[in-house]
């Protein structure tokens, strides 16, 4: 069965938080809503849960509208950012609460809580109160509470954001493991693009109350639909070069001193490109940096070098623009030196300066 978010809008007073959002996904998918704070992702999740009522639009589960149902009647589960464990109940009763409310027989409750606790490795904690647990343990209890009812939909609201960096990595794979084991449809909200990229089947990138792109992580990263997605996904962020036009089969950036971008074989796309001003985008990883002159390369001056571990982040100025480049850590590049840049032609992105949309066909279609 499909889950369909149909034309949902939400206003709080005069602020429009969601503007006619539509999404459709199928069972067993792991969907991530990602975007900067205030983009509407949490509101959309809360509308799915029933805790928030949309100003207009409907939620469909298969062919049933569920927008009018109370949260408890939707048979879904939600994990909150703050975990929201009942402070006066021990772990067992926290996990069992949803079953008790639904009048599940006592031995069935005990069995299912036991199972969930085993999967999450918290069997030894069942008699503790939430305040006696560490952050990671609380997280597991919150997950257990969601799992034990076997809902048809999991909603996770930034569940990892209160954990420290190391635990976050562990819990990330833990969550993925649980999802693979239970195969429950999951909608996951985060502002962390790395979480979104690593865990999801599909990602909805949101901004300003709109879904900017809804696609697989590969598509989002490899072929961002517009400037916002291109800039939001990827770290360090994509370099943008404004005021680019096609001239003689080459990309030329205008300005006081026009400069030809160091992209070979761009002519293949020529037919698809608009005759208007464009913005070119290239990820720091997709720029080749040479310390000796190379034909057709763009001359640059190194401003700053930061060692990131296996790589170096090099900031250079070229044709009056700041660009960042990722190089291997062994490259002996120093601030103040001259360098030459080449862009990977398959990984250059071109956006319409007006509509901000990606003007290139999706990668599968070219080459």
């Amino acid at each position: 069965m499909t889950i369909r978010v149909d034309n949902i809008s939400k206003r709080f007073g005069k602020t429009e938080v969601l503007r006619a959002v539509s999404l459709e996904f199928t069972e067993r998918e792991f969907i991530t809503l990602v975007g900067p704070s205030g983009c509407g992702k949490t509101t959309l999740l809360r509308i799915l849960s029933g805790l928030e009522t949309p100003s207009s639009g409907e939620i469909w589960h298969g062919d049933k509208p569920i927008g009018h149902l109370a949260p408890g009647a939707r048979d879904i589960a939600m994990v909150f950012q703050s975990y929201a464990l009942y402070p006066h109940m021990d772990v067992f009763h926290n996990i069992a609460y949803g079953l008790r409310v639904r009048h599940t027989p006592a031995d069935e409750i005990r069995r299912r809580v036991g199972e969930a606790a085993k999967v999450l490795e918290i069997s030894h904690l069942l008699e503790r109160k939430p305040r006696e647990l560490s952050g990671g343990q609380r997280q597991r209890v919150a997950l257990g509470r969601a799992m034990v009812r076997r809902p048809w939909l999991f909603l996770l609201d930034e569940p990892l954001s209160n954990l420290d960096a190391k635990l976050r990595v562990t819990m990330r794979s833990e969550l993925k493991r649980v999802h693979r084991a239970l195969e429950t449809t999951t909608v996951y909200v985060t502002h962390d693009q790395l979480e979104a990229m690593t865990m999801s089947d599909r990602i909805a990138v949101m901004d300003g109350g709109f879904v900017q792109q809804f696609a697989t992580p590969e598509q989002i990263y490899g072929h961002p639909a517009n400037l916002f997605v291109a800039g939001f996904i990827g770290s360090p962020p994509m370099n943008f070069i404004t005021d680019v036009a096609l001239s003689d089969g080459r990309l030329v950036a205008g300005g006081a001193q026009p400069v030809t971008l160091p992209v070979l074989r761009i002519d293949r796309f020529a037919a698809a490109l608009p005759r208007r001003a464009m913005t070119a985008g290239i990820r720091p990883q997709d720029i080749a940096l040479s310390l000796s002159p190379v034909a057709d390369a763009m001359a640059a001056e190194v401003q700053m070098v930061q060692l990131l571990g296996p790589e170096k982040l090099v900031e250079v100025t070229a044709a009056g623009r700041m660009l960042s480049v990722i190089v291997d850590a062994v490259v002996p590049v120093k601030a103040g030196e001259r360098a030459w840049l080449l862009f990977d032609p398959l990984r250059v992105h071109l956006f319409d300066a007006d509509t901000q949309r990606n003007v290139l066909p999706a990668p599968g279609l070219v080459s």
Binding site: G50, T53, G67, H68, L69, A70, A73
Partner: protein, 298 residues
């Protein structure tokens, strides 16, 4: 398929159901008495025969405003309120600062110093009466023994001393209120602020004036307003100790209103006094808020 009722609709009815008792109680026990009091201020009412009421126009207010006792009660109330509030605030802040010290066993003192707040006014009044008894009270006995006085002081039956005694009672009972409010605020002042000031070379006094006081400004403003209003309204603290006496020397407006209604059987006049009190408090609060906001901006 039939479109079901949205669950919010049923849910909101529960919300309204929950607020309903409060609305009813507030109307009956708060709004009605105040409005009725205002109405009564315009009528002649004898409490022994409450059904025979005659419209009085502004007569009751005239009676009150022409009565020299009203004006002396007002002066007493103002003096009583002013002195009590200042003493409570100063003592309360001082004790709070002491209790904020990182000393061992300080929590025992914190508990004990809250104690007067829970002691019934009647009990304190009785204790005061007993301790201040001119012939066999402990206070005069001690003072005589220490050679400070030769003749017994008539604490509650000479006008100046009676006023002083009621102020002492009030300060004794309500200083803990200031202490706890200030202490609660002190405990939220980040210790980093003090560390930073120490590193900057600020001494104890500087740290008090530059960090503690500004942090306390807000809570002190609130505490002073509330203490002023409540002290101004107080009835029992004076009535139980001196009955407004000797003579009428410790009358405040609440006692004046009470005596007009009960002793003189003029409930209209008592109500008019109450209305005047409310007006004074209302104007006073507005004035104070103006003043405070003005300070805020500079």
């Amino acid at each position: 398929m039939q479109k079901n009722e949205h669950w919010r609709a049923a849910d909101n009815r529960i919300g309204l159901l929950f607020i309903a008792p409060f609305v009813v109680a507030a109307l009956v026990f708060m709004v009605y008495p105040v409005l009725e009091s205002i109405r009564m201020a315009f009528y002649y009412i004898d409490p022994l025969n409450p059904d025979a009421q005659r419209f009085a126009g502004l007569d009751n207010f005239g009676t009150v405003l022409r009565d020299p006792l009203f004006w002396s009660s007002f002066r007493n109330a103002a003096y009583w309120t002013f002195v009590s509030t200042i003493l409570q605030t100063v003592a309360g802040v001082g004790i709070a600062l002491l209790l904020h010290l990182p000393l061992r066993g300080i929590s025992v003192f914190r508990g004990l110093l809250l104690f007067p707040y829970i002691v019934p006014t009647v009990v304190i009044a009785l204790c005061w009466q007993w301790m201040l008894n001119p012939e066999i009270g402990i206070v005069n006995h001690t003072l005589r023994g220490a050679g400070i006085i030769d003749e017994n002081i008539y604490w509650l039956s000479s006008p100046d001393m009676a006023m002083l005694s009621t102020i002492m009672l009030n300060v004794w009972k309500y200083t803990p209120f200031v202490t706890i409010c200030v202490l609660a605020r002190l405990q939220t002042v980040p210790t980093e602020l003090y560390d930073a000031a120490k590193v900057d070379g600020a001494g104890v006094l500087r740290r008090f004036t530059d960090i503690t006081l500004p942090q306390l400004a807000e809570v002190l403003a609130v505490v002073v307003v509330f203490r002023t209003i409540w002290t101004f309204n107080k009835f029992e603290e004076i009535y139980l100790l001196t009955r407004g006496g000797p003579g009428t020397s410790t009358y405040n407006l609440a006692i004046y209103s009470f005596e007009q209604s009960i002793a003189n059987l003029r409930m209209g006049v008592g109500a008019a006094t109450g209305v005047i009190m409310m007006l004074m408090l209302f104007l006073g609060s507005i004035l104070y808020m103006r003043l405070f906001r003005f300070q805020d901006e500079t």
